[in-house]
């Protein structure tokens, strides 16, 4: 929604000249990675007092902190436009953090490019268009393992064990799958990197209750393997129910923080953010 003059295409939809399918919207804050530094301590992944915004626009995050530790599920909730996705992007290096830092396993990675964060072990599943629709399920998984140079066939087997339906459909273009199956492909793709931490942005938006339950089940299973999971959810009640840690963001700031249960029990939180 920025006002960049380069974004005006005058409503052109001429298929002869432009192709909008799969066009990117993300702008990495760093194209080339800078230095990292071992500082030690703290939770496994933490975006610490982050302040920043898109491009030259106003700050969207104000001194916002989110973190997740090993074996935990951390859930971020908050009203629309609060900056939840923005915070996730900031942690992933899609946005310039003007002050504050991002640390992974004690290492300061604030200046890394997103690609290098993937290499460092961060997996990210965006909210929408999170699969390669024209590629087969198997190719989707392969692309997940793009950065890996070792043999990843056993990881693929693990993913197939976790999501058996995908094994059945391995040679089918992912675009032909149902909504729930697509979400499984998306998570599977992220798992293929053998991430040390998994970040999910509203994995259940627009998903039917049964698929949502299934997804939460799978997420719990994944978490139980020891993989920390950081996710944004609007289906906040279910999400907080399974969360070890919950963050409520309002206007780019931490409004409430606590365990999932605490937040669920807080009447103020219930009223303002969970729909009563």
């Amino acid at each position: 929604m920025s006002d960049s003059p380069y974004h005006d295409d005058h409503g052109n939809k001429d298929a002869t000249i432009t192709n909008k399918a799969g066009m990117g919207t993300m702008t990495p804050a760093h194209r080339k990675s800078g230095k990292t530094q071992y500082v030690g301590g703290g939770p496994f992944l933490i975006g610490d007092s982050m302040t920043g915004g898109y491009g030259k626009g106003p700050d969207i995050l104000h001194d916002c902190t989110i973190a997740v530790d090993k074996g935990e599920i951390a859930v971020i909730v908050g009203p629309n436009g609060a900056g939840k996705s923005t915070a996730m992007k900031a942690v992933f290096g899609m946005l310039d953090v003007r002050s504050g830092s991002v640390r992974l396993d004690g290492e300061d990675i604030t200046n890394l490019s997103p690609q290098d964060r993937v290499v460092k072990g961060m997996g990210f599943v965006p909210q929408t268009s999170n699969i390669f629709t024209s590629m087969t399920v198997e190719e989707n998984l392969e692309m997940g393992a793009f950065i890996r140079t070792d043999d990843f066939s056993d990881t693929m087997e693990q993913v197939y064990d976790l999501f058996p339906i995908l094994k059945e459909k391995r040679n089918q273009p992912a675009g032909e799958l149902s909504g729930g199956q697509r979400q499984q492909v998306a998570v599977g793709r992220a798992l293929m990197t053998k991430p040390k931490v998994l970040m999910l942005d509203e994995p259940t938006a627009g998903v039917s209750p049964i698929v949502m339950d299934e997804l939460f089940d799978r997420i719990i299973e994944v978490a139980r393997t020891g993989l920390p999971i950081l996710m944004v959810e609007q289906n906040a009640r279910q999400a907080l129910a399974i969360a070890d840690k919950g963050y409520v963001l309002v206007q780019g700031q931490n409004a409430y923080t606590g365990t999932g249960k605490e937040l669920l029990a807080d009447p103020e939180v219930r009223k303002s953010f969970l729909g009563g």
């Binding site: 929604m1 629309n80 436009g81 729930g180 509203e202 209750p209 399974i242 969970l274 729909g275």
Partner: protein, 262 residues
């Protein structure tokens, strides 16, 4: 009011809507639920004229409206909102509303050159009406803001506001709730109820959030695999085995284990 008779919509060999028949009563708020890929959006698109059906018939107040393009349906009082807000982003919120009414004389080129007086009068009336609607939606302070720069929820309100600029008969809402904060969603629900009561709009609502459906919808229709699976009040639907199996599910399996483990 709307009768859908045995509508099929095929994409190649795939039957997205496979013989759906349903009726929507005047003055009701009908909920449409069903698993992902059940064909709800596709059925919407067929009714709203975005997609031509492969076969079948849609009537509105007895008149055959099958395959009419959206802009003609609009003039018959059939409006829709979009799952993802489709605001006119470079225009102000007020302009977003003012552009809605059809048959404005200023939309004819001839009048823009030779009927300027008439246009000016009409514009004044339109503006007043738009401001009224903005007030109703409690966003009058945004009248001169570009619609592209208001928050997601406000965009959704704007979507609703557009339907209030003309005398809509029936409004189709596709997943108003997806990705919308639950508290805001309840505000929207109130607005829908108000429109239904005060203006007599008929609504058809696709939604996956049962709280929302429960608050406003009666009856509820559940689709699966392109067909209507069940129909009734929400409680009836919730009790329906098929619906549970295909759509609602029985809750988390792992929940207790997780808690036990930690």
């Amino acid at each position: 009011m709307i009768v859908v008779e045995d509508v099929h919509k095929h994409f190649g060999g795939f039957h997205a809507v496979d013989g759906a028949s349903l009726e929507i009563a005047k003055g009701s708020i009908t909920g449409l639920i069903g698993p992902n890929g059940a064909g709800k959006t596709t059925l919407f698109n067929v009714i709203a004229g975005v997609l031509p059906p492969t076969s079948g018939k849609v009537t509105m107040d007895g008149e055959d409206i099958t395959g009419l393009p959206p802009h003609e349906l609009f003039h018959k009082g059939l409006l829709r909102t979009f799952q993802i807000a489709h605001e006119f982003s470079s225009m102000t919120c007020r302009e977003n509303l003012m552009m809605v009414p059809g048959s404005q004389s200023g939309e004819s080129l001839w009048n823009t050159w030779f009927g300027r007086k008439r246009i000016a009068d009409e514009e004044r009336a339109l503006r007043a009406k738009a401001d009224e609607v903005l007030e109703f939606l409690t966003i009058e302070h945004l009248a001169d803001h570009k619609a592209g720069q208001v928050s997601g929820g406000q965009k959704k309100l704007l979507e609703l506001g557009r339907t209030m600029m003309v005398d809509a008969k029936i409004v189709f809402l596709d997943e108003v709730g997806a990705g919308v904060n639950r508290t805001l969603l309840m505000t929207i629900a109130d607005t829908i109820l108000r429109l239904n009561k005060e203006r007599g709009y008929t609504f058809v609502v696709i939604e996956h959030d049962m709280d929302f459906i429960g608050k406003i919808c009666d009856p509820v229709i559940c689709m699966a695999e392109g067909k209507v699976l069940a129909e009734g009040t929400l409680d009836e639907i919730k009790a329906n085995e098929h619906v549970i199996e295909a759509y609602l599910g029985t809750g988390l399996k792992n929940k207790d284990k997780l808690e036990a483990g930690s």
